[in-house]
């Protein structure tokens, strides 16, 4: 195996990890703020990809240009969904909302199947197959674009959480919803918007996945688990940890695929996930509680 191949693989692992981190960030925020395990996260991600597909075929808009529009659509759809299905379950334990998101994932998966058939889709663009070369090292250009966009969005979310008034409410609700509510934070509103933000992260990540690779109605499950692996690795609710863990997982997946074969890509991530859960449930960057 030549140096170029190994270096190219490692670099594409790093870049791919950035995209994975964006998807995982949505899961992490929802988990950290709402204490909700969103089992429909993968389907929301796939919904973003289908959304880009439909917008592309209707308007001919480039999916990367359409990203803000897709994110906005996701927020508009996800917020009422949260208020209709999840908000009434507040205070009924952690399982009821999780089961509900599970039901939502079943419903979404089959709606995709009915609406778009089981065919493998890809949001083909001119640049999705174009290479990006630095000397002898070559990676797909879309990986570079995806990484830059993902890190940009992750940075924006970081600023939103740490520098804005909404972020202050969000952090307060995450720490102690009852105390936050008693000092005037509208926790219900924060939860609804957090769910919307999580959905927007997943959906934009889904568009990038759709351009770089391909997707089917059932693709979501694998990304849900990968996202969990990243969240657990990076520590729940830690934005910086999520980014680092995403990149680590991307690199490990690349190495796994290179050494063992492409089929092992997801398996390597899952085994790492189980190992970390078993050894250090608080994550590599999380504080032990």
């Amino acid at each position: 195996m030549s140096f170029e191949i190994i270096a190219s693989n490692l670099l594409s692992g790093v870049l791919w990890g950035g995209i994975l981190a964006l998807i995982a960030l949505g899961l992490s925020i929802v988990l950290g703020v709402m204490r909700l395990i969103n089992l429909a996260h993968g389907e929301i991600m796939v919904a973003g990809a289908y959304c880009a597909l439909v917008i592309g075929s209707l308007t001919g808009l480039d999916p990367l240009i359409a990203l803000p529009l897709i994110a906005a659509i996701m927020v508009v759809v996800a917020v009422p969904l949260q208020q209709l299905l999840l908000a009434p379950l507040a205070g009924k334990g952690a399982e009821a909302p999780m089961m509900t998101t599970f039901a939502v994932s079943l419903i979404l998966q089959n709606l995709f199947l009915v609406g778009f058939s089981a065919d493998t889709r890809s949001i083909g663009q001119g640049y999705s197959t174009q290479p990006f070369s630095i000397g002898p090292i070559s990676v797909p250009l879309i990986y570079v674009l995806g990484f830059v966009i993902s890190v940009g969005i992750i940075g924006a979310v970081y600023l939103l959480v740490n520098r804005s008034a909404f972020g202050r409410d969000l952090r307060a609700s995450a720490l102690d919803p009852v105390a936050a509510a008693s000092v005037g934070v509208n926790v219900r509103r924060v939860h609804a918007l957090t769910f919307g933000l999580g959905a927007a992260c997943a959906a934009t990540g889904g568009v990038l996945v759709g351009i770089a690779l391909s997707f089917t109605p059932t693709t979501g499950a694998a990304y849900l688990l990968t996202s969990f692996a990243i969240v657990v690795l990076g520590g729940m609710g830690s934005i910086f940890g999520t980014l680092v863990a995403g990149i680590v997982l991307g690199v490990i997946q690349s190495i796994g695929a290179l050494v063992l074969g492409d089929g092992f890509r997801d398996l390597v991530g899952l085994v790492l996930f189980l190992a970390v859960l078993a050894v250090r449930p608080a994550g590599l960057f999380g504080r032990r509680t």
């Binding site: 079943l106 499950a221 089929g263 092992f264 189980l274 449930p281």
Partner: protein, 330 residues
């Protein structure tokens, strides 16, 4: 949703507790032995009902009584199926031994993974088991052992429809026996104490790990045997099907719809979901959408499932009649 059924409630009816499960088994047997009552189609449905009741009972023990909500049932079904097939192919053992080995394999696998999955509490356990199931499926698809992604063919002769029915009935009887014993002894109270408050139970001297492990092993053995029986029926195993997520999804849906942690939740749920599946057999996508909708509605409006609804209604009616009697009396 679980804290609602008070401890000891299921102990209140000493007779119904053990008579009803025996009755269920007897009803299946009687229906089958009545000539002309069940056609081929009905026998097929009855087989599926019995298999799923067994799996759902096992899952209800784990999730309903133990609070261990697993999304990894497929792993244990798959392990059982492969153990059954391998045992019959390699050693030519009779099916009964194969089924026992399938159960054993499920139990041993549960013991092996328990150190990892029991470190995760509550929702993390759910995600961990989901990852476990998917990891095992990907493993079986990608490694060259056990037939790889193409799976294994069973060398034994196909069992007749009648034989399969009796095997499934036996499995149903075994599951009813085990779960009845489990839920009617102090094992169940200890298990529920762990479910309701792990720390408090530990302080009272309950050995958390061991209590969880026993429930996990019993449930996994039943699931392994269920997988073994399904392998016997199909005559072949392959990783996509036997380790597929639909097993975990179906079992969870059945129990949650029927009534999580209620003695007849698994039974009612299995009837409900399989009937629904048959009614919508011509529209497979609609079937899953409808199951999802029912699941969401049940979680929202009937947290204790169909059984919970019936029990609550019955209680309310009884208290209403009592209330009116009291008004008349003075």
């Amino acid at each position: 949703m679980m804290q609602e059924n008070s401890l000891g409630r299921s102990m209140a009816h000493p007779l119904t507790g053990s008579v009803a499960p025996a009755l269920i088994v007897a009803v299946f047997a009687a229906a089958f032995m009545t000539p002309g009552l069940l056609g081929n189609y009905e026998v097929e449905i009855a087989y599926r009902l019995m298999l799923y009741i067994c799996l759902a009972e096992a899952w209800n023990l784990l999730a309903g009584y133990g609070g261990l909500v697993s999304l990894g049932s497929a792993a244990f079904v798959g392990v059982g199926a492969y153990a059954f097939t391998s045992a019959l192919n390699a050693f030519g053992v009779p099916p009964i031994v194969g089924l026992l080995l399938a159960g054993l394999a499920g139990g041993v696998f549960a013991v092996l993974v328990s150190p990892a999955v029991f470190r995760m509490r509550g929702l993390y356990f759910t995600v961990g088991t989901l990852a476990l199931g998917e990891a095992l499926r990907l493993f079986m698809v990608n490694v060259p052992w056990f037939g790889g992604s193409r799976g294994l063919f069973l060398d034994a002769d196909f069992p007749s429809r009648e034989a399969l029915f009796w095997w499934a009935l036996g499995l149903l009887a075994l599951s009813q026996f085990l779960i009845t014993v489990y839920t009617r002894t102090r094992l169940s109270i200890i298990l529920r104490s762990v479910r309701d408050d792990e720390d408090a139970a530990a302080q009272l001297g309950v050995r958390i790990y061991r209590v969880k492990l026993v429930a996990f092993v019993v449930a996994s053995m039943l699931m392994g045997m269920g997988g073994g029986l399904q392998a016997y029926k199909l005559g072949a195993v392959e990783p996509y099907g036997m380790f597929g997520l639909p097993w975990s999804i179906d079992i969870l849906s059945m129990v949650v719809i029927g009534g999580l942690g209620l003695r007849y939740g698994a039974l009612v749920g299995a009837f409900f979901v399989i009937t629904l599946a048959e009614l919508l057999a011509d529209y497979p996508e609609a079937h899953i959408v409808v199951t999802g909708l029912v699941l969401a509605l049940v979680v929202r409006f009937a947290p204790r499932g169909v059984c919970g609804l019936v029990i609550d209604n019955w209680k309310r009616r009884r208290s209403e009649t009592r209330g009116s009697e009291r008004e008349v009396q003075p």
